[in-house]
């Protein structure tokens, strides 16, 4: 399912003394099956953009096209439920949305709101629980008896059970320890690949964007600052540093080495393995030449 924002602007609290323009002139195209990372500072507008993806917010000017639905500004858009089911959002610290008596009931909550039968919902709950790496025995537990990390997985399962076509992730690893972060990000990537799930990751982590995304959109002060493939985006680190963002550690390291070497390597490396391979190749060539 494609999603696109067309010249979208959003004003908070229009026509009040507190009116603020959060985003303007935003054009973003998300193609079906892609993995897009949206990067930006707190206040760059990325969470406003995120809320337009499932029509939680509708634009004050411009349009949003979600699949075959057109969300226009100024119109009262009704029947948004199908959109909410198709575009699932995992918010930051999603464990705070848990409320049911049992894990099973909470995971079933989303699907059943969208008309799924209880029997089918329970079936999906089992499946979703497995996907997030928790065993079936958790189904009967109270979500409030679980650890923070487990609660987060249950919350994610609750969104997966809705069987969305697009998955939007808002800083899904916030507050987790290194192992937890890796497990969660690998899990989302696996789901992305297995189900061709269009994935949109809103994040601060340059590393995650470099590793997982095939397209990066950078937001700054309410505008789209830059967009493109990771290699292209990160090869221009001055542009990023200028707006206070960073580049992945390996990119920065490569640049420092290139400064000392006096020449650039063959390509911008987004992960350690390929960087090491190229460095090792270079050194071997040097040896051969000597």
């Amino acid at each position: 399912m494609d999603i696109s924002l067309q010249k979208v602007a959003y004003r908070y609290q229009e026509n009040t003394p507190f009116e603020t323009l959060a985003i303007k002139d935003v054009d973003i195209n998300i193609t079906s099956g892609s993995y897009t990372a949206i990067i930006g500072h707190t206040g760059s507008g990325k969470s406003t953009v995120l809320q337009h993806l499932n029509a939680l917010l509708t634009p004050t000017s411009g349009n949003v096209v979600i699949g075959d639905r057109l969300i226009e500004s100024g119109r009262k858009n009704k029947n948004l439920a199908p959109i909410r089911q198709k575009v699932g959002i995992v918010f930051q610290f999603p464990e705070s949305q848990l409320f049911e008596e049992t894990v099973e009931k909470d995971i079933c909550f989303g699907p059943m709101n969208f008309g799924v039968s209880e029997e089918e919902a329970k079936h999906r709950a089992k499946k979703a629980l497995r996907e997030v790496g928790l065993s079936e025995e958790y189904l009967t537990k109270s979500p409030f008896d679980l650890s923070g990390g487990q609660m987060r997985r249950v919350a994610i399962a609750g969104v997966l059970a809705m069987e969305p076509e697009v998955l939007v992730l808002d800083e899904p690893t916030a507050g987790l320890d290194p192992r937890g972060r890796k497990e969660i990000m690998d899990m989302f990537y696996r789901l992305h690949k297995e189900r061709n799930l269009t994935t949109i990751l809103v994040t601060h982590s340059m590393e995650d964007a470099a590793i997982y995304a095939d397209k990066i959109v950078i937001m700054n002060k309410g505008n789209v600052y830059k967009e493109g493939e990771p290699e292209a985006i990160f090869s221009n680190s001055e542009d990023l540093i200028e707006i206070g963002l960073n580049v992945p550690d390996i990119v920065r390291f490569q640049q420092k080495l290139e400064t000392l070497l006096g020449y650039k390597l063959d390509r911008v490396h987004l992960n350690m393995e390929t960087f090491i391979m190229e460095v090792s190749d270079h050194l071997k060539k040097k040896e051969d030449n000597q």
Partner: protein, 265 residues
């Protein structure tokens, strides 16, 4: 969806009323509420109206804000007015139409009672428009301090109030976040049958409550870590300073009370 409320509707301007000690303002409003019942004729109400008008001027608050304070109550005032107008059967009959009978006393009482309401609301609005919630808390804590002698938990109440005030914007933000998360899971808060909308409160309230407990626990831990052991032996950072103008304003109100006594019938 949820606009940012001006908590307590404080309007930050530099005016004489803003600069008054919150204690004197509280005392003035309290006294005003008492003396407003002394007025019972045109002359006395006129005196009160002049006084309130003077207060409005001294507050430098744009009338728009005062109107905003009155707006929710306007219906109540209108209702009270009509109540007296149609159901007080005293004095000369002024108007008759079918079974609607309006008497002189009814009209008089209607106007006077409504006016009383009106003036009271304006005075209390001026209080919250010119005084921050935390100033009010400080004032209450100081004024009620003598009650400590009868073991009334004055400090605890004041601390509860100030912590609640501090968390109101935070809790509002959190409510909005949880609402959005549940909307993304298919909950409809503002449309659909009433029964469903009421049920929708559950996935909003439970997380809020659970988080509130967690917050309270963490906050209590942090407070203890910083040496909080209750109100005994604490010093106070914020200070209320009674100035000459505060005394002047109280005396002014006392004089108004005196005038009311003279002119009332």
């Amino acid at each position: 969806m949820m606009g940012k409320m001006i908590i307590g509707r404080f309007v930050p301007i530099d005016s004489l009323l803003h600069r008054l000690d919150p204690r004197s303002k509280l005392i003035i409003v309290f006294l005003f509420i008492c003396i407003v019942f002394l007025a019972n004729n045109a002359a006395t109400y006129f005196i009160l109206a002049v006084y309130v008008g003077l207060m409005i001027m001294l507050s430098k608050v744009p009338f728009r804000y005062i109107y905003l304070g009155l707006r929710p109550i306007l219906w109540l005032i209108l209702f009270t007015f009509c109540l007296h107008l149609f159901f007080t059967k005293d004095g000369n009959l002024l108007f008759e139409y079918g079974w609607i009978k309006i008497y002189e006393e009814g009209l008089r009482m209607g106007i006077l009672i409504s006016l009383r309401f009106f003036l009271l609301i304006i005075m209390t609005s001026l209080l919250t428009l010119t005084t921050t919630p935390i100033e009010l808390t400080d004032a209450l804590e100081t004024l009620l301090a003598p009650l400590k002698k009868v073991r009334f938990p004055v400090h605890e109440l004041a601390l509860m109030m100030s912590i609640s005030l501090r968390f109101i914007p935070t809790l509002m933000d959190e409510t909005e976040k949880i609402m959005k998360a549940q909307m993304a899971r298919g909950v409809e808060f503002s449309s659909g049958p009433i029964k469903n909308r009421i049920k929708a409160i559950v996935p909003l309230l439970i997380p809020l409550f659970v988080n509130a407990f967690k917050r309270a626990e963490e906050l209590a831990t942090a407070m203890e870590a910083r040496g909080y052991q209750g109100g005994d032996g604490r010093t106070k950072y914020r200070q209320l300073i009674w100035k000459q103008m505060d005394s002047v304003m109280i005396i002014l109100l006392v004089l108004v009370a005196g005038l009311l006594l003279v002119f009332k019938s």
